[in-house]
Amino acid sequence: MSFHKPTFAHPELPINKVGYRKKDYEGVISTLCAGCGHDSISASIVQACYEIDLEPHKLAKMSGIGCSSKTPAYFLSNSHGFNSVHGRMPSVTTGANLANKDLTYLGVSGDGDSASIGMGQFVHVARRNLNMTYILMNNGCYGLTKGQDSATADLGSISKSGSENPFQGIDLVGLALELGASFVARSFSGDKSQLVPLIKAALAHPGFAFIDVISPCVTFNNNKGSTKSYDYVRQHIEATSEFDFVPKEQPIKVEYSEGTGKSVTLFDGSTIYLDKLSNNWDPTDRYSAINRIQEGKKKGEIVTGLLYINPESQELHKLLNTVDTPLNKLTEKDLYPGDGILDRINDTFR
């Protein structure tokens, strides 16, 4: 069941460069629980896509299965969506991307979807540096199947039923860094001011851009003792820097404190500005990121922000050396090997 929002648009609402209002980036009304972190992330996605002047139909929304994976229905109604099977969004996105390198691919997944059944595909999509944005809506539990611990649940986190998780949690940020992912970030569904620019930068990044967004499940994992509850996250969050993303062409108006900031220019000319950087951390050095996270963990901090970016990122199509024209645009004319070729081939088998 899905409910459509009334679509009368206020003509006075601001229009972005490609002619769309923010409303045009919305989807159908969410059927998630009131207060679910995932809905806030959807809102940030809407905001980010609107702000970077992305034509909605040039983005493809990909997901797996779970409450989180339902969200693509709740944003960007003018985009095609692919709600695949549990844990396999990365492979479908890989195929889609191979077919058309010109679109923007936005994948969303849950922690069950990515860290359990989907672990293999997560690792390999990172390894291939697929040009996509991968948003993990991380609530430490299986929302849709009613709250079981997921593999990202932290050791010792208390579930709603009162049991303590005996297993070490998997940190997909750490894993992505170890795998050499080219853009790794962490954020919180409740921190739109950080999340929106992160999503913008991720969408612009040419390669695999991973954002682990802690996104509390109000129904099953927002209790006392849970390390993924709103309260806990708010108390332990620690941003690595202030962060802004400026698309190319746009005038730069960011000011940052002398000596503590850094700017990273992306391939397409966009720029990422980081201000008030943590000590001992350089966002373009992945080992410093690993160390920064570890340091945070020892102190009980949830370190957020853009943690690592590889400005030299070579995305999959570069590695495969594919033609500039998207493969799905090639026709008989481009693909037919040519007259006489088959005869010559036949001859090699005589």
Binding site: R88, G95, P326, F349
Partner: protein, 609 residues
């Protein structure tokens, strides 16, 4: 006394794998081909890289029968591990050619077999120094000897060697030398040729000798596939290899040197098929090839593609199952599993090639059908077809042929103000609905693809009525495919016998031969070859027109028979299973024996004669 036969023999080479024998053996088969005589080689190899027994069996038959034949006339035995069984496997009156560098123990002698000892290794060591060369040229030495024994034209083999080493010319003379050494040794030591021998003919025409997997890969190249995602598994791997090598030859943009294709070796089969779905959903012709275990792993996505209607062309090169089973043996053991793959009520389109030429055609057609029907299309090849060379019609492509992309709407279509589009609305009554490729139009045509139940507008729905409408329409769509899959091939204009025989894929060679044998014994059996599923009307008619129909297949449970019964509501009593499932290609003799047995038991013989 061996009986005298020309161009009608079976020769088997018993080797150790990893010793370079494959190349020498291949030269033998190719030489026969070049001499204008129909030939059919079969590789019987272990699931292992080096040091285990491997056999190469070649049937030479001027009537053109290409099935594996029981009984070995000449056995070239150069594997000490299998000496006993190799010698035992020779037909009475046959020949055993062996390496007599070491004396053969007496216990191996057979009175009814002519033992032809050739000191292959000794000759090789006398003429070559490097141990690896001694090993390799030993193979060419026995090839030379066989040429003398069977009267294979030495010039033809030399021509083949010259072609093979065209770019490494300095390898030609030592090979020639080895060949001559073997040839001369045999000439000098034995009465050459033997009574079973070959003789030049002109029976090949423009046919080619090619492996099914090679032809399949070419089919997908011509069919316009640009995305191949796969995971290595015997016996399908060589499809990916061949696709890559042809793509690298014919699909490089000459201006930029860039690839007009993308090949991804996926992390496993689940990912491989997921990528195919993503690729076709986004409008690029994509496919994967796998076998056995891969199909099992792909089941979840297969059901998804069926239900969400995403095109998916999937090549299954079948091997011996269940489980890992016999990974280097052939079977038609996944027919039922593929027809109804995945949980819930499903039905999938199947194509059954029986020659490399059909592998080529169906390799292209499968891509068309997947796009047209927006569903999973399986091409059901097998190890025998895929990994052995077969004598077959040359590959042909109509240069004006267009890819059938199926019902895909363009931006222009959306300019039509009358267009009332819904992704899953059956406007044409054939069950096939119109789809859009992402980014077709800024504000129209987007939709949500999902494996959960949905209505015509691709919206999530839990309504029982929406569900029933959806699954009924999909079933109707698959029914429509009956007219689009390759029709059954009938081997007679009209049915003329109460007995019929149905076969498909690689049972075809043996079945045709069996049919001829019956005919020569005065028993007429009408025959039909199935080429596609769901079955067309001809299949129904054929069965209706016969009292008893034999269904010949290479699996244990008579899977095609089950499919016929279930889909066509046939009385099982009519369909008699003729099965072979030991992993070796079925022979005509086997079919004849089984049918004979059935006929005599049922006293049908009389009636038919």
């Amino acid at each position: 006394m061996p009986s005298s036969r020309i161009n009608d023999l079976v020769i088997r080479f018993a080797n150790v794998n990893g010793t370079g024998s494959a190349s020498a053996n291949g030269l033998f088969a190719k030489a026969i081909f070049r001499m204008g005589i129909p030939v059919s080689p079969k590789n019987i190899f272990p699931s292992n890289i080096q040091g285990l027994p491997t056999w190469y069996e070649v049937r030479v038959n001027e009537k053109g029968y290409l099935a594996r034949k029981d009984g070995i006339d000449v056995l070239v035995g150069v594997n000490p591990q299998t000496l006993r069984r190799d010698i035992d496997s020779i037909s009475s009156g046959g020949y055993f050619v062996y390496d007599s560098s070491k004396k053969l123990h007496e216990e191996y002698y057979r009175d009814d077999v002519t033992m032809l000892g050739i000191p292959m290794m000794k000759i090789s060591m006398d003429h070559y120094e490097v141990p690896r060369h001694q090993q390799l040229f030993k193979n060419i030495i026995y090839l030379g000897a066989i040429a003398a024994l069977l009267d294979v034209e030495l010039e033809v083999i030399k021509e083949l060697i010259a072609e093979q080493f065209a770019t490494k010319e300095k390898l030609i003379p030592p090979n020639y030398k080895a060949l001559d050494l073997g040839y001369e040794y045999a000439q000098n030591s034995f009465e050459c040729p033997l009574k079973v021998r070959v003789e030049r003919r002109d029976l090949i025409g423009d046919k080619i000798l090619i492996e099914g997997n090679e032809a399949t890969a070419l089919g997908t190249i011509y069919g316009g596939a640009t995305v191949l995602t796969w995971y290595p598994i015997t016996p399908s791997t060589s499809i990916a290899k061949a696709f890559e090598s042809y793509a690298k030859k014919f699909r490089i943009d000459s201006a930029t040197g860039k690839n007009k294709f993308a090949i991804v070796q996926a992390e496993d089969e689940l990912a491989a098929i997921g990528m195919v779905l993503g690729g076709t959903w986004n409008g690029a012709r994509s496919f994967t090839a796998t076998s056995g275990a891969g199909i099992s792993l792909m089941n979840e996505f297969i059901g998804y593609a069926y239900y969400a209607e995403v095109p998916c062309f999937l090549i299954n090169v079948q091997r011996g199952g269940p489980s890992t089973g016999m990974p280097t043996r052939t079977q038609q053991g996944d027919v039922l599993f593929c027809a109804y793959a995945s949980h819930g009520d499903t039905r999938h389109i199947l194509l059954f090639p029986s020659t490399p030429t059909e592998c080529f055609e169906m390799g292209a057609l499968g891509l068309d059908l997947a796009d047209r029907f927006q569903t999973v299309v399986f091409m059901m090849s097998d190890l025998d077809l895929g990994m052995n060379e077969h004598l077959t019609e040359p590959l042909h492509w109509d240069k004006n042929r267009k890819y059938d992309r199926g019902k895909v709407l363009s931006a222009k279509d959306f300019e039509d103000p009358d267009l009332e589009w819904a992704r899953y609305l059956d406007v044409d009554g054939d069950g096939i609905t119109y789809r859009t490729i992402p980014a077709t139009h800024p504000t129209k045509g987007s939709y949500f693809t999902r494996g959960s139940s949905h209505n015509e507008y691709a919206r999530y729905s839990e309504s029982g009525e929406d569900y029933v409408r959806l699954v009924d329409r999909i079933a109707r769509k698959i029914d429509t495919a009956k007219k689009h899959v390759p029709g059954a091939e009938l081997y007679q204009k009209i049915s003329s016998s109460p007995l019929g025989m149905i076969f498909y894929g690689t049972t075809t060679y043996a079945a045709i031969e069996a049919m001829d044998i019956f005919e020569s014994n005065g028993i007429a059996i009408d025959s039909m070859r199935i080429r596609g599923f769901p079955f067309d009307e001809d299949v129904v008619k054929f069965i209706q027109e016969h009292e008893t129909v034999f269904v010949v297949e290479q699996n244990k449970d008579g899977q095609m028979r089950t499919l016929l019964i279930n889909e066509l509501e046939i009385n099982p009593a009519v369909l008699v299973p003729i099965l072979n499932y030991n992993g070796y290609p079925i022979s005509a003799y086997n079919i004849n024996t089984q049918i004979d047995q059935h006929l005599s038991i049922n006293n049908l013989m009389k009636e038919v004669l």
